[in-house]
Amino acid sequence: MKADRSMISSFIKPIMESLIAVVIGVIIGAIVLKLSGYSPVKAYTALVKGAVGSAYGWSMTLSAATPIILTALTFAISARTGIFNIGAEGTVYFGAIAAIVFTNMFANPLWGLIGGIIAGILWALPAALLKVYRGVHEVISTIMLNWIAFYTALYLVLGPLANPNDPNKTLEVPASARLPLLMRGSELSLAFIIAIAAAIITYYILWHTVLGFELRASGYNERAARYGGINPKRAIIWSFLIGGIMSGIAGATEVMGRPPSYAISQGMANIRGYGFDGIGVSLVGRNHPIGIIFSGIFFGALKAGATYMQIDAGVPLEMVKVVQGIIVVAVAVPGLWDLVKKVVRR
């Protein structure tokens, strides 16, 4: 039946478009490598080997995927509600800080998570309220809040939370509050399982609850949602809160689950960038929790392989960020599948 075919193709098409975007990114990345004097073959081989060529590689891939799956969920939930929450970046900082504070007060990983959740909820409120009660576009407000969070967190990290025994990082998460490792000698901890669970919960919320129905309806058509007895303002606030929780957990699990440091490093380098990476993961994952799991693992592989690529092939690891960026831009092109079909036919 015609409708069945269109239902199936509406499912396959987005997946194809993400795959095509990845291919485009890889190809253009190869061109950039060549132009910069590196060997694409050597670089990509090293990348793949480092990411998935060994159990250790896989553990690095999955642990790199963990925080960006969570921050991707933040963006996805907002996108499904029709808004663009770019505030994961700042929320991650506060989530990590809250986890350090809470675990140093109560030496239990659960408290660390609770800290992350509370931080996520609280930091989600300004953007949510500004949007709903003052109509401030969330793209502007969340970016501003990211920077405010950055400097505030930096102050806390260099000041009250500084580690008296180690000038390069903050206080550590005490041993009893750390998340257990899934693989000995790796960096892969329970955090990964938490991220997967979060994705599944997000799926359930969006497609199997009244709240999720209202979020999605508001995202598709605010007028129709209002007509349908839904309060779009309430939907937006919930969207920010749940999104905030995800990113708060991302920050918390990063410090609770990453050996050997178990702290925030100087300049916050080990918790920066997850917000924007998450957005890319979500876009390539078509803003769907299941897609995000796959896309997150893929981007995690890029990150994990990058260090190896730098060592083995001498290519600066920032190269993968270029590929990442190209993939995201490619995903932004509508009808990519149809375009490619047209070009191939010629």
């Binding site: 003052r134 502007i140 920077w147 930096l154 960038g273 960020k321 270029v322 960026g325």
Partner: protein, 301 residues
């Protein structure tokens, strides 16, 4: 006292250049109905490439033009996706911002071999035309003012401006009268991105003199906030630009004057531009009205 005022004035004028240029470009683009949130990424990439072109050619002015050129290319990309392919207006901008993070980080290493930061040699930077004991003023400040007034005049007094505004308010009306909606939207988008490119190159080749991964520091978004604050009016964007420039300059100054940290942590002052931006945008809502078809793709039905 006088020296402080003059110094603040000069500093604010200097800082407002990238914001005002980007805002003016954004005003034109959105008046035609195209939203672009990728200016942050454009600022970053044109800062990098502007410095690169300047150093390759030995002239900072070539660097500025190079930055504008990169902006133009990115504007064409955005225009192709949003205007011709009828894509979403927000997502390509996010893509450009993410791409910029990668390109600049990789670029600094690949071009200059340093990690994270590159100092532009001072002989390849724009020299100030006014030099006082309290600070200098770059010719770019004057050029910015000229660009703003010219843009304003074209937008509100000429057929080109009339058509640009028409396609942003009611593209159906313009289309029915034979105005090529796509062409004007595309041109407006490219113009906006080109100005942002100029502003980005200014950061590395003129004012700050460095290329880092964070040289844009949210200015691309502050420029969008300024665009809203100005009511989509280039001349009014000067006012907002000055206010933001004031706080931006303050924040930069504080970092180079550690004595201040005795009184107030420098990080707090660094957050001021962003807090001020939020307050101003929150306050102006309801008093200004965006173009009616801003952000909506147009297809002839």
């Amino acid at each position: 006292m006088i020296d402080m005022i003059v110094s603040i004035l000069l500093g604010s004028l200097t800082a407002m250049v990238p914001i005002v240029l980007t805002s003016t470009g954004a005003v034109v683009s959105e008046r035609a109905g195209v939203v672009n949130i990728g200016y942050e990424g454009i600022l970053l990439m044109s800062a990098l490439f502007g410095a690169m072109f300047a150093e390759m050619s030995g002239s900072p002015w070539i660097g500025l033009l190079g930055g504008a050129f990169v902006g133009m290319l990115l504007g064409m990309l955005h225009g192709a996706i949003t205007v011709y392919l009828k894509g979403d207006h927000i997502i390509p901008g996010i893509g450009v911002n993410i791409l910029a993070l990668g390109v600049v980080a990789f670029g600094i290493t690949a071009i200059w071999g340093t990690a994270g930061q590159h100092q532009v040699p001072s002989n390849i930077r724009i020299q100030p035309i006014i030099n006082t004991p309290y600070g200098g003023l770059s010719p770019m400040v004057l050029i910015t003012f000229i660009i703003v007034f010219l843009t304003h005049w074209v937008l509100f007094r000429t057929p080109l401006g009339l058509r640009i505004r028409a396609v942003g308010e009611n593209p159906e009306a313009a289309d029915a009268l034979g105005v090529n909606v796509e062409r004007y939207r595309f041109l407006a988008t490219v113009y906006g991105a080109t100005l942002a490119g100029l502003g980005g190159a200014y950061l590395s080749v003129d004012w700050l003199g460095v290329v880092t991964k964070e040289i844009s520091s949210g200015r691309g978004f502050i420029a969008l906030a300024n665009m809203v604050f100005s009511g989509w009016n280039p001349v009014r964007a000067l006012i907002g630009g000055f206010i933001f420039g004031f706080f931006d300059n303050l924040s930069v100054w504080v970092r180079t004057n550690p004595a201040i940290s005795q009184v107030v942590p420098w990080q707090f002052v660094a957050t001021l531009p962003y807090i001020v931006t939020i307050i101003i945008v929150a306050g102006i809502i309801g008093k200004v009205r965006p173009p009616k078809w801003d952000g909506k793709p147009y297809k002839r039905e």
